[in-house]
Symmetry: C2
Subunit: 361 residues, 2 copies
Amino acid sequence: MATTLSSIAEKLSISRGTVSRALRDDSQISISTRNRIKSLAKEMNYKPNLVARGLSLGKTQTIGFLAGSPSLEITSTMEAKLDELANNAGYEVYVAHTKGNLDITVKRAHKLIGRGVDGLIVKGAFPEATVKEIQTKLKFSVPTVLFSGTLFGKSAYSSHRLVCQDVSIGIRKAINHLYRLGHSQIYMFSMCWPGWEKDMRFIEFYKSIESHGFGKGQDRLYSTDESYANKGTRHIIDVDLAFLQTKKFLKSHPECTAIICIQSEFALFLTSALARMGIRVPQDISIVGFDDVSTMAYSQPPLSTIAQPVEEMVNSAFELLMEGIERDIDEPKQIAIPSKFIIRQSAGEVRSEKKISITEK
Amino acid sequence: MATTLSSIAEKLSISRGTVSRALRDDSQISISTRNRIKSLAKEMNYKPNLVARGLSLGKTQTIGFLAGSPSLEITSTMEAKLDELANNAGYEVYVAHTKGNLDITVKRAHKLIGRGVDGLIVKGAFPEATVKEIQTKLKFSVPTVLFSGTLFGKSAYSSHRLVCQDVSIGIRKAINHLYRLGHSQIYMFSMCWPGWEKDMRFIEFYKSIESHGFGKGQDRLYSTDESYANKGTRHIIDVDLAFLQTKKFLKSHPECTAIICIQSEFALFLTSALARMGIRVPQDISIVGFDDVSTMAYSQPPLSTIAQPVEEMVNSAFELLMEGIERDIDEPKQIAIPSKFIIRQSAGEVRSEKKISITEK
DNA sequence: TTGTAAGCGTTATCAG
DNA sequence: CTGATAACGCTTACAA
């Protein structure tokens, strides 16, 4: 059906080998026959069969992307970026969704290896897995780079090639920013999940709070798990409950002047919830979010946020992978890319009143 | 390196054909040798080389997903769903991002066909393309189903297999809902883009407004293109400008009691912008959005919205594709899935005062 | 029930 | 500079 090397070779009464070489511009083939072949190929609308080429070469020019949490704007952004890089380099990308589950990840990875992928990018932090599991299960027969937004202890990855976010920078910048604006009563809001204690974002937050002499870091964490659930593919906030809890928090902590929200959705929620309570952002309370979901920029006021440098991370991951695929480099290597602090309008000068009060119901 | 059919055949001193059949549970092979082979295969950790199988069979059990607009939560949700369906059916999926551009789409599609994909799902509406272009360029040598959230005139697709959203239902439901709540001064907000006039959402909105006897539909559209731009991979709202324009609108249309926002980001923006102006939602003005971005549920109040039935659409698209791939069905067929209207709290009873007034700056 | 051999569309080695 | 030929790993008539 489709035109093949043989079919064009036959038409020209020459060998398939010659056609193959000509079409790849092998300088061994004389210019004249090269041209003859190429023009006929074009005429016959020849397209190389890449699966045959893959079989022959043992390389398919494909990579697999194991996507962790689905339904996230950030996942899609990463994929688009990866696709762009890969495509420019002549690769095609398979994507498999793993829900952040280690076993699913491993299973899909092996399937993709069976498909002949030349390399793998594995996104996910696997907070529920043990260090040993990570070290053993995440080793594959093709070059692999791990990719994680937030890290749960670096040691687990010491034998891998990995790109991660260095959250400490962003958090420190955010807290310094708030400090300069006069804040000291800074709290972190979080809706927790299994394994959260190991998340570097908390640890760095504690550190930063303590280094400013604001007291014990842990005392500045206000968290709840009741209002946050992973339903199907989405994280769900129980808004009514969250509204109540926020009000309760403010009553028991009227001294609070600034809140850092570890979930972007919650930051969004909080901004409008405060407006409803008659509390102005940033005049009465300053808010800082995490990640850079586009809607954060369209919140009123637009939200300042500690953001993952998604593009840079994808760039590095791809580069690491290409080193592995095209230059056989596979020595362990961890690249941590500093998170950014994006200043918008939700963090402002500290208010003058000591205590906050809720006007509206 | 990896164990192959031959390597296990050799160990057992039998032919590769037998091994091949045994491993696929061909009943021709005696149970006993089948077991012998299978257990050795397991022991040797045999994984079939799917690219070789693909070459042999002329089918790869892969499909290509051409993703339109990137960086959208909805894109990621669709992908995850498609991946789930495909994987259960034994398929793997390539994804290629096209930025909604027809030529990129065509180019990537052909690349994927060269990779041997068995079928293609093409997402995108291509508002800038002519009917002729759509009819000719979107035809490929493998089963293809088109997938579009909003349609720009159905006629262009009459020779394709397609799944789309029937927006009319959702819009009618939304407007009926508002009507029952006493609203008649209903407006639609939109930030426009090339080709927007053809978008069914406007057309259905006009229809619905007029069928209620509210007057001319077009008079109820408030649109601007200055504040909406497609910067890189993201749609950008100029929030300050949008804030001003919203204020201007309310001053010139103080009778407005309900607003339907065609962009979800804008609905989000509008809710918090109104809060800032001292206008309560829904007590003073009701808001309805489009699509169902998760953050819309976490807005305060949570936003009522006309939502794309993403899962159903993906289900149908996959089914259509499988018909094409596995049963050679390729007669044109269009499936329109009714959009849903999700009632949350941003649309409420119409206010009693005739005119709205802005209290805060 | 099993073995043999051709074929899928390439690339690569080795002669000529 | 070009042509044979083997090889990649698997499936599948056809034979035995």
